[in-house]
Symmetry: C5
């Protein structure tokens, strides 16, 4: 599941009916640039979120008939950094 | 859902029957180069659009039997720029 | 749907039975390098084609039981170049 | 199936109900950067793992209703390096 | 379908039950780095193979319940090089 920062809400009046009237968020990260996602969680600009792609994205909504290939699944609280155990005795591929 | 600019309509007489007679649009963005998409919305060259991939792309058409892996879902009106809340108190991954 | 140029027919005698006896084409483009695709259309080396990925690729064949994740959907006749309407009044994302 | 090193467990209290209460791992590799995965195996930070994407990711869990597009499938013990048979008599594509 | 060279067999004792006891191959190419694939064909280190992704990967096995998102579909015998018809009368996109 990809990690993104919410940049804004997307303004889009001409859209297919399958998208319903839910919010569309504009997401951004360094690897993939900009993407549009549906938002069943309620994220705000600046939040770091992770998303589900493909069929999993549709299942993220309480209405599984919604049309999306990317849905926000959760808002990340925080995560510790740089604490990978280097002494795990395994080589790098 | 990816973001693209419509470049043109694609001329393609020799195609499989599953595509029907709908319009095929040539899309372009910086990350992925050129792609071909089916268009149930009616976008014009120069429009900025977002698309649904995979099975979601097929559901975007009123005829779900249509064969596509990328369908235009909406035309983007505009979006505000550079207003991410930097003071959200969360670190960057 | 991705855009490719057909490079050649692939010679592959040891393959799983699900692929049947159809032709396998070797495709190439600048973004993704080389890929192997099934061909229900009958493209020749040098042709520019577009393809359907995933489940859509299987539906492109008249025999939906065929095993593929990439199928040629159409041969591109030509497309006009460099005619995006710059005066469409929309900003770039 | 992609190869990753487990970096940490992800702290995420605001998430959709489909994810259940299972652990979310933060994975990292050179090609794709950071990703979030569900973990039915029990990997620890520093482990090298491989993952299943898409629908296969959901089948990796004993509860197939779980919502994920990336699940850890196995922990890699080790692998020999640099032993590709260069004398196999086949050209490089 | 992606093209890879088989690098080795992957040693992985801690894995989910859905993978069965089949061989796991470590594949490598220039575009995508390293990947793990299931192998219903019987490829050896040094072989050039092509693979099916996603649901197509599962159908490649005689046991469709097997858990994989990448399966080897065939071993490439050889392919001619540099013979694209430059005189096909079509422009490059």
């Amino acid at each position: 599941m990809d990690i993104w920062q919410v940049r804004d809400t997307l303004v889009c009046t001409e859209r297919i009916s399958g998208l319903g009237h839910g919010h569309l968020r504009l997401l951004e990260n360094a690897e993939s640039g900009l993407q549009v996602a549906t938002d069943p969680v309620g994220a705000r600009p600046g939040d770091w979120v992770f998303t589900a792609k493909g069929t999993a994205g549709r299942h993220a909504h309480r209405d599984p008939a919604i049309l999306t290939d990317l849905a926000i699944c959760g808002i990340i609280d925080y995560w510790p950094q740089e604490d990978i155990q280097e002494d795990s005795g395994q080589g790098q591929p």
